[in-house]
């Protein structure tokens, strides 16, 4: 795992300062992505389950449960993209151009999701609504799956050259490990989304959502087990850091506890805590991913010496410092009003004249 290469020569103190900022930004990009995962994760999940809801009323409940918050959730991805561009321009450039078709498929899915939510309620015709329901659901499934494929490739490694450029093909990105990751992320979103619906609904639809939540949880646990085995067998480097620092085994241990806590909370009717457990599980999964790849951001496979690390792919310390100031000013404000907006729209979803 000793892949750190400092390509610039600096004095000792400068180097330490630089390393700190790089590490901070690795963590901050991780925080933004984790924010995206727990927030957009549930509305993607609602989308994946959308077609299981039958009838206009149930589907409107699904849509309106995420109605006021889904576009704010997507901003986390936009901001993570901007932060990556600013803090690690080489990572942003290599990934976006290397994953070209995958990125655009993801963007097209995001477009269709957005307009499907907005357009569906604007006309009463059954065919119109059915068409947007299908678009919404397929786009959500594709989104979750593609995000997983990208994560899978970051773990597996992609062919990079000395010029930091991607030298593979689109179909090379669809390797079995990446596909497995895609299915796993899909299962994560389905679990997270189903718990969110359980939390936001009441009556018979609530019972239906509980049934979904149970099945989605089983699906997730199966995917998670297979992915863990595949990772330990084929990408042992991902767990290397845990072996070196046994204290880190707390992370997967707490992760397991959080997952086990989900069915416990649902059966007790403490749905909000089930949702929080699901959030915790997702954050810890992201943490495991970060611990596994660090200090690489994009692993080069088969030539690991060309990997993009948090040091050789970053912006200057000055920019990282400025960005940190922006983040320290901006993020507390963002968190404050994100929480207040969730507070305003708390409680069970009800349909009224303003609903989708």
């Amino acid at each position: 795992m000793v892949r750190i290469r400092l390509i610039r020569t600096r004095t000792g103190t400068e180097r330490i300062k630089n390393m700190d900022l790089n590490l901070i930004w690795f963590i901050l990009v991780g925080v933004l992505l984790a924010g995206y995962a727990i927030l957009d994760g549930f509305d993607l999940g609602v989308g994946t389950l959308h077609l299981f809801a039958k009838g206009d009323n149930e589907r409107r409940l699904m849509l309106n449960s995420i109605g006021p918050v889904w576009d704010g959730n997507e901003v986390w991805l936009v901001t993570a993209g901007g932060a990556l561009f600013a803090a690690f321009p080489d990572v942003y450039a290599t990934l976006a151009s290397g994953f070209y078709l995958a990125v655009f498929l993801l963007l097209f899915s995001l477009i269709f999701r957005a307009v499907a939510i907005e357009f569906r309620s604007k006309q009463p015709f059954a065919w119109w609504r059915q068409a947007w329901d299908v678009a919404f659901s397929i786009a959500s499934i594709l989104c979750a799956f593609l995000l997983g494929v990208v994560i899978g490739n970051l773990v597996w490694g992609i062919p990079l050259g000395a010029d930091k450029e991607f030298h593979g093909t689109f179909f090379g990105l669809l390797n079995p490990y990446a596909l497995l990751c895609g299915v796993t992320i899909l299962s994560v979103c389905m679990m997270h989304g189903s718990i969110y619906i359980v939390m936001k609904t009441e009556g018979t639809f609530h019972d239906k959502a509980r049934y979904w939540a149970k099945n989605c949880l089983i699906f997730f646990v199966i995917c998670y087990m297979i992915l863990t085995m595949a990772t330990m067998l084929y990408v042992p480097a991902m767990v290397e850091r845990l072996r070196l620092h046994p204290i880190l085994f707390l992370v997967p241990a707490i992760n397991l506890l959080a997952i086990v806590n989900i069915p416990r909370c649902i059966s007790q009717g403490r749905n909000f805590f089930a949702f929080l457990s699901s959030c915790t599980a997702i954050i810890l999964l992201m943490l495991l991913f970060g611990l596994g790849i660090f200090p690489n951001m994009v692993l080069s496979n088969p030539d690991p010496q060309y990997s993009l690390t948090i040091y050789n792919a970053s912006s200057s310390p000055k920019t990282l410092g400025i960005m940190l100031a922006i983040a320290l000013i901006g993020m507390p404000i963002v968190l404050a009003y994100t929480i207040s907006i969730y507070w305003i729209f708390r409680g069970k979803v009800k349909l009224d004249e303003h609903s989708y």
């Binding site: 704010g72 993209g81 932060a83 561009f85 600013a86 803090a87």
Partner: protein, 450 residues
């Protein structure tokens, strides 16, 4: 076709389509704040209904703006990755700031406007309208700072050389307040206000002509006309300062905009014309001699560097920049005259019965949109052949990991999807307008039942 031209077309398609929506959000956002403020002050429920109706329009517009905007966030990396590596240290921070300071604000509080009417107090509802409007304006600030840096780079130095060269920031505030950013920002914001105002004018004029929602249309029209007045006057001022900045920092662009060929002579202003790039002259034109020199330097005899004084490889395509610039000015002047005419008729109390003027206002919604696009064409095509002015050529900014056929695939996909979106947008907008504001005619005089 080669990679460069395909990537440029794709960027043009995606950014021009995207740019239909943000100016509407900015302009309409401002108008909604004014209406909701009036509602707070006068307690007249008509204003409340007006906010409700225009917020619905805003919502539809915003969703497509967001969906097409996410594309922009990643397209720098997909097609222009060499550019991204080169400028990331400078350009990226502005983009990240946009996300943190603007998008969260706008999307978060729009939810309150759209769904939270019964969940929050009137004061909170007003605050949400204000924050949505501010968010829309903030997003313009940061993206224009980033774009202006590409026009007039400042506050940076170049580190490394050859393929590893890149711009690194030396002075953040010098980058933010680069020579053209404030001029361009003010020019863009007022044009966005015009866009929003003329949208409201158009819909209101339609209702007046159809004799529906009369009271609603009259009051909406008054608010929009005040915004339009401030904006069209502002447009004259900011247009001139923007041109001055171009004259000072981007001499190639100025020469091409004005179709000024002679190497070192006073520049005249063409009111119209056709640029013949072969014979290097402007044909069928009408020219005011020395007028550009006079406008920029207050001296009609001041020589200005013309097209002939630059190397051909440093020049943008001439005729398209010349024509978009001139057409933009014509549209700007027309909107100025139209606004003033409407105000005169309003003052004399005849506007709402003057059918011919209302009939002009209905299609006039398109004019600010066209002028916006032409303005960007002038600015961005005029910057060519540079992606960052006099630092990095557009052809040098391309991604190395992509092929032309792949870009062609994504371009076809974009064209198809965006056409579909546009048709649906117009269809839904049309049905919303025809449906009109809810029950407004019954309670025009403040006797709302609920």
């Amino acid at each position: 076709m080669d990679l460069l031209i395909l990537s440029r077309i794709q960027f043009a398609v995606t950014i021009m389509f995207h740019y239909i929506y943000p100016p509407m959000s900015i302009g309409l956002g401002l108008i909604i704040v004014i209406m909701e403020s009036m509602s707070m002050i006068t307690k007249n429920p008509l204003y409340h209904k007006m906010t409700e109706f225009w917020v619905k329009m805003f919502g539809l517009n915003f969703v497509i703006g967001v969906a097409t905007g996410i594309v922009m966030e990643f397209e720098f990396g997909t097609n222009w990755s060499t550019y991204s590596r080169y400028v990331g240290d400078v350009f990226g921070s502005a983009l990240a700031a946009e996300g943190i300071f603007a998008f969260f604000l706008e999307s978060g509080f729009l939810a309150v406007l759209l769904f939270g009417r019964d969940k929050v107090s009137p004061r909170m509802y007003w605050l949400s309208a204000l924050l949505v409007c501010l968010g829309a304006h903030f997003s313009a600030i940061w993206i224009i700072v980033a774009g202006s840096w590409m026009q007039t780079p400042a506050g940076f130095h170049i580190v490394g050389h050859g393929v590893t060269a890149r711009a690194e920031i030396t002075d953040f505030w010098a980058m933010v307040f680069n020579p053209s950013s404030m001029e361009r920002l003010s020019h863009v914001l007022v044009s966005a206000w015009i866009t929003g105002a003329f949208f409201v004018l158009s819909v209101s004029a339609y209702y007046l002509l159809k004799k529906r929602h009369i009271e609603f249309a009259k009051v909406s029209m008054r608010v929009a006309l005040i915004v339009a007045l401030i904006a069209v006057v502002g447009q004259m001022i900011t247009g001139r300062t923007s041109a001055e900045t171009v004259a000072q920092y981007q001499p190639t662009k100025l020469a091409v905009m004005e179709g000024h060929f002679p190497a070192n002579e006073p520049a005249g202003m063409y009111l119209f014309g056709y640029v013949d790039e072969k014979s290097q002259e402007v044909k069928y034109g009408l020219k005011i001699p020395g007028f550009v020199s006079f406008l920029m330097y207050g001296d009609s005899a001041k020589p200005i560097a013309g097209i002939k004084s630059f190397k051909k490889e440093d020049l943008p395509p001439i005729n398209i920049v010349f024509q978009s610039y001139h057409l933009m000015i014509v549209l700007g002047l027309f909107l100025f005259v139209l606004t003033i005419a409407c105000l005169i008729y309003l003052w004399r109390g005849k506007l709402f019965e003057t059918t011919w003027l209302l009939k002009i206002l209905v299609p006039a919604v398109l004019l600010p949109q066209i002028a916006n696009q032409l303005g960007w064409m002038t600015a961005e095509i005029g910057r060519q052949p540079w992606i960052v002015y006099r630092l990095l050529r557009t052809s040098e900014g391309l991604s190395k990991a992509i092929r032309a056929d792949v870009v062609l695939t994504s371009l076809i996909m974009f064209t198809f999807i965006y056409l579909l979106l546009f048709v649906l947008y117009i269809y839904l907008l049309d049905s919303k307008i025809k449906h009109g504001p809810d029950q407004v005619d019954q309670d025009t005089h403040g006797h709302r039942a609920d």
